[in-house]
């Protein structure tokens, strides 16, 4: 299942780098109903024993187990290890993607030279590299970082390339007519123009990084939430297994919410955020 998840998701539409849509107050009820139905099903289906027999515990016992686990320091240690891999990998991927993206984006020659290579390397699923990465980097957390950097780098790079292409010719002529040098152009024009795209790239990379941090631990056995899931599964602790799975879901949501909030505050000038927040 994770194999599918880690394939690079399709690139966001460059015309709408931040697909944030304002949600009307009236439509808030529908998602709540959806959540309620899901919760009820997650409780009733296992109790009815229709799927997997005893291997699928009802939601209430999974949640109870998760709460119990949260009082245990081993869970927090594993969580810390997973998040360290995630954060280190993400920072490296974003830094690399932004720097390389701006350089390539601003030099048409580099762009043409690298286009086909990028198109070949980008679709390689990071998980396909696991065996090679183990050979090269061993079974430490560094291997997880390498997987994340590989997958996240392309996400950010492609978005930055779109962002640099989005520079308004009139804005560029304005900057040039006022004698902006290369560094001033990047700082005052290229970077702010690309920023909404960078955010999209970072959000995509952050989700992929979480998938890969856990995949790496599951497959390689590096300590973390992933290996905790593997251990719980092999020792027959099905409720613990599902409690940890739910935890990874919560992590994913938190990561996404945090980045969206950062996006809204840093891009308050951008049309997509302006619309969502109303005129100020």
């Amino acid at each position: 299942m994770t194999l599918l998840d880690s394939a690079p998701p399709s690139v966001a539409d460059p015309a709408s780098p931040t697909p944030t849509r304002p949600r009307r107050a009236g439509s808030l009820r529908a998602p709540l109903v959806g959540i309620a139905v899901t919760l009820v099903l997650a409780e009733l289906l296992p109790r009815a024993g229709l799927i997997g027999g005893d291997a699928l515990p009802p939601l209430s016992s999974v949640v109870a187990e998760l709460v119990r686990q949260l009082g245990d320091s081993t869970l927090w240690e594993a969580l810390g290890q997973t998040m360290r891999t995630w954060a280190v990998g993400l920072v490296l991927a974003v830094t690399g993607g932004v720097v390389v993206g701006v350089l390539i984006g601003l030099a048409p020659v580099l762009r043409e030279l690298t286009a086909s290579t990028v198109e070949f390397l980008r679709p390689i699923p990071s998980v396909a590299l696991i065996p090679a990465v183990i050979l090269l980097f061993g079974t430490g957390y560094q291997s997880g970082v390498v997987l994340i950097v590989y997958a996240g780098f392309w996400q950010v790079l492609v978005q930055v390339l779109y962002g640099v292409q989005d520079i308004d010719p009139v804005a560029e002529e304005t900057a040039r007519s006022y004698h902006a040098g290369p560094w001033a152009l990047v700082r005052h024009l290229v970077w702010p123009t690309a920023l909404p795209f960078v955010f999209t790239g970072v959000r995509l990379a952050a989700s992929v990084a979480l998938v890969l941090a856990i995949t790496g631990e599951l497959v390689i056995g590096t300590p973390g939430i992933g290996s905790a899931i593997a251990v719980a599964q092999s020792s027959g602790a099905t409720t613990v297994t599902f409690a940890l799975v739910v935890l990874t879901g919560v992590l994913g949501v938190l990561v996404n919410v945090a980045f969206r909030a950062a996006e809204r505050s840093l891009l308050s000038w951008h049309p997509s955020v302006r619309r969502a927040g109303g005129a100020r």
Binding site: A171, R176, Y178, H270
Partner: protein, 282 residues
Amino acid sequence: MTADTTAVIGSPRSTVDSIVRVTGLKKVYESNRGPVEAIGDITFDVPRGQFACIVGPSGAGKTTLLKCLAGLLSPTAGEVVLEGERVDGPPRGMAVVFQEYGRSLFPWKTVQQNVELPLRLKKTPRDQREHKVAEALTAVGLADRGHAFPWQLSGGMQQRVAIARAIAYEPHVLLMDEPFAAVDAQTRADLEDLVRSLWQDLGVTTLFVTHDVDEAVYLGERVLVLSASPTCVLDDITVDLPADREQVDTRSSARFAALRTRVHRGIQDAKAGRRTPSEQPA
């Protein structure tokens, strides 16, 4: 000054202090369907401190000429000389106000930061920057809008910000590319009077490109009429209206009508493909 500015094309170059000299300017674009000659041969001088308007029919290469003047395009032949130096990139002493104010102002910067940016690029010390920005915003009537973002302002106000940005830079030559083409008529009249009074206060040489005959006559001391592409200067008209102009009185005066007629005739000649003005009383 006025005697020189009436110089007919082809007459000996004036010896007054010309801040801008355009000589034999030619611009040919390479396109898929072969070379396109946008500018044929343009020659003119602008004395220091003059307000000159450049008009021409649509597609007369007005924007191409402006970009060559601004150093944003390099000419195929001929040269632009600004204050004795040949222009081969954006010159130091020039500021440009573009037609598309909404795209020329940076939406991620406040009004104040937008006006300040050229000064930062010019390495003006911070305390002077603040003073100059405040002064420029006051001059365009936006002293209290410094902390707003451009997109929170009306179109006319945005163009005022762009003008403030240009004058805060303290250019020797101010280049304006159809700056009021995208605002409504009343705002346009206000902005015309603003530009006119800024020119009178600051004495900055102003080159104002427009397609509007009335605007050219109302604003300028001189109107250059461009021919159709490949462009040359078809007519060079001295606007001998009083220095103090007023939207209603000036525009309804007999002299304004006569000048307007001559410029309009020039535009019609240009559209008909003529390269020199047809016979008419000035």
